[in-house]
Symmetry: C2
Subunit: 439 residues, 2 copies
């Protein structure tokens, strides 16, 4: 090592960030995810976190997984630890087709692109389709991670109403007509049809047909994001939209919830020309997805009764859903409203009128319970009266305790409102004191 050279003159700067003028325009849309900022607080052990969407993988047989991976290194280590194809491991892509067949999809491995989790699939699809100012249609609410991507690519998001059966077709029809009449370009409709994150609802079979029809007629692409499809508690999965429309649907899948998230293995199934561009985008982004992760997932699928494992997961998540719904039924004020999800991880709860989930969050954390305020799931500022409650990770006892604490916070808020009125009332009365904890 050569000696350090003479000291260079110090950069003089009075700014905290000397690069503040230099960032790309797209970084204006890159703000800290509300969820991830919350996590550092919510992960303290004394807090019951109903905020995170971490799958509960404690049931995975570590000895079996360890053995499969150990054999992988011994028998195929040189390949598993080498660069691979930008499109992803060919054996895994065949296995992915087998997985998709469970939801009615017939596909060719050549139309599958492996991605670093399905989050990366959303990123790459948006990268190849969306210019700044393009419109993306989403459900109301929608998945925070996808909203973050659309924002990072400077898209405008238009939210479309959902009810207990998912996206409302007439609302979609109107939204498309409205946007197209304004001369704007809709690049795709982004939907999470099964056990929606965060709303918990599932798009009915009839609506899937209707929505595909609407999108065909409007010549709009559908981006179908399906991480939870195999995690239903009642009966068989509904046919994927992609099962009935190949050219007009890009389908995204993931092993994060059916196996484990730590390998970051997801995929996109796309029409051939789109697939080619996705591969180019992947090669630019990473050269290739991790070979080791892919071959580990592949080995797991091949050597373990992975569907039996998913069945165990389903039963575990159903118990947790039951614990949450029971606690809500027992304890939550009747003026709050919530759905009963038939699968997946989430309950979407709307507070009694006049309450604000975002404003309430600091008091909830003080009471040692965390949730995600509904505003995180809208691009347009809506959602303040709602929150996402996750039951996927804590034990049933902790879930019940978390609901108990949350109810305590809500009852305090209701009392406060009774005494002082809502924010609107307060403002209307001309109150001039500190309002920082009401905004």
């Amino acid at each position: 090592m050569s000696v350090p050279p003479p000291e260079l003159p110090a950069r003089s700067s009075t700014r905290l960030d000397s690069y503040v003028d230099r960032y790309a325009a797209r970084t204006k849309g890159m703000t800290a995810s509300e969820i991830r900022a919350l996590f550092s607080v919510a992960s303290r052990p004394e807090v019951v976190s109903l905020a995170g969407g971490m799958p509960n993988i404690s049931g995975l047989p570590l000895d079996v997984v360890g053995g499969a991976i150990s054999d992988l290194v011994a028998d195929h280590g040189a390949t598993a630890m080498q660069y691979g194809s930008g499109q992803g491991d060919p054996v895994l892509r065949e296995q992915i087709c087998d997985v998709m067949r469970l939801e009615g999809i017939e596909a060719h491995p050549d139309d599958v692109v492996v991605t670093v989790g399905s989050q990366q699939a959303v990123d790459l699809v948006t990268r190849i389709f969306c210019d700044p100012g393009d419109v993306v249609i989403c459900e109301a609410p929608s998945y925070v991670g996808a909203l973050g991507v659309f924002r990072a690519y400077e898209c405008d998001v238009v939210h479309v109403e959902m009810d207990a059966d998912g996206m409302v077709p007439e609302a979609l029809r109107q939204a498309i007509a409205h946007v197209q009449a304004a001369g704007r370009t809709i690049k795709f409709v982004y939907t999470i049809p099964n056990f929606h994150n965060p709303a918990g609802v599932t798009l009915s079979a009839e609506r899937r047909t209707e929505i595909l029809q609407i999108c065909r007629e409007a010549d709009v692409l559908v981006l179908e994001d399906n991480p939870y499809g195999l995690l239903g508690f009642e009966g068989e999965p509904i046919r994927a939209m992609r099962a009935d429309e190949a050219e007009g649907v890009i389908y995204l899948g993931s092993f994060s919830k059916t196996f484990a998230p730590g390998f970051r293995v997801g995929w996109a199934l796309a029409p051939h020309a789109v697939r080619e561009k996705l591969v180019l985008a992947q090669e630019s982004a990473t050269l290739c997805p991790p070979s080791f992760s892919q071959m580990a997932v592949s080995a797991y699928l091949r050597t373990h009764d992975w569907q039996g494992q998913v069945k165990q997961f389903r039963e575990m998540y159903r118990d947790r859903r039951d614990a949450m719904i029971e606690a809500l039924d027992d304890l939550m004020p009747a003026t709050a409203r919530w759905n009963v999800p038939a699968g997946g991880f989430y309950v979407w709860l709307t507070l009694p009128d006049g309450l604000d989930a975002k404003a309430m969050l600091p008091r909830a954390v003080t009471a040692r319970v965390a949730y995600v305020p509904g505003t995180a799931f809208f691009a347009d500022g809506f959602g303040a009266q709602s929150m996402r409650l996750s039951y996927c990770y804590p034990t049933p006892e902790r879930i019940r305790e978390g609901v108990r604490r949350l109810v305590g916070v809500i009852e305090d808020e209701l009392e406060l409102r009774q005494t002082f009125g809502t924010v609107a009332d307060v403002v209307a009365r001309g109150y001039e004191g500190p309002q920082s904890d009401l905004t």
Copy 2:
């Protein structure tokens, strides 16, 4: 599973790609990498490929690696297979600081961002800094993977001359002055200072100081990409540029060549504010890099004499460099020119005047040898007379055979040129016959 619904009317389209009008503007810059398109041909076993940059990992002790990973699953499987931090595993980030210290860098783990290979680090840095039309200054030639990223973000690349000691400071000074005088914005200078891919040269210590000074005075960021720094054949590594300039340098590192590529683990070391934006960009792109990969690399660093392994790699790569240089010295026509790299994977060879490496490639492949034409490493069409030769992967015997075949092709080309003249001569004479193999 519900029965399939009635058949929807077929999409009528006379185009191969029904999305051809819909892609984002940035996809115009996304073209197939010349290298990766070549790989499918070059990887046929009868071809001696001097094209690829795959590290030779056959020396890795698979039993040791397998054991470390097996223990990882048994002892920390629930963490290794779970979502992790968007910034990357904190233990690994500390270990990365230890690795960087070997090249003189003192850094805090909090300023490290783990990425999916250093390719992703280039992608994320470009994403947060570059608007379409921004200028990026690169060496001439430069790394094809980085050029692809800059093109994907619609940057304009300005190449700056190199010689045997790397980038020429006066050429950099002039390029910066020229670009700034034209009112254009230079977002960073991208450099591969050690055992350059593809040129093989190393930026001297004196030039590192001079270039840092030039960039400070011009207020231009330096992006220092250093995958090969520990793979020198002679003595200690030269101090990294980042070792002498913290605010003005973003440093990229990788385990792909010092351990193995298949985990896709690299990193960026950046000033704090930049690091924050890189983490946001990562969370948008992938949520988080693969926990399993990171913990596998971490376990390897902790349980194995990884530096002793790198020493073995260096000796193996030196033997291969020697085989290539010997063969070139013995066989190659004296009118060709090439460097003798002091580390890394590559020799940069310039053909005798009048020859075109890109035009010659089909004939080389027919003769069962592959290389990468120099044009792949320029954004501006230059490089036709040069080629990159990789010695990292084949055995010394295969390297010698590859050079022998290549020399045969070159001698045939020289003869052809003698008989018919160069392309320029032919065109000048008004030749109107097929020229497809000369373009």
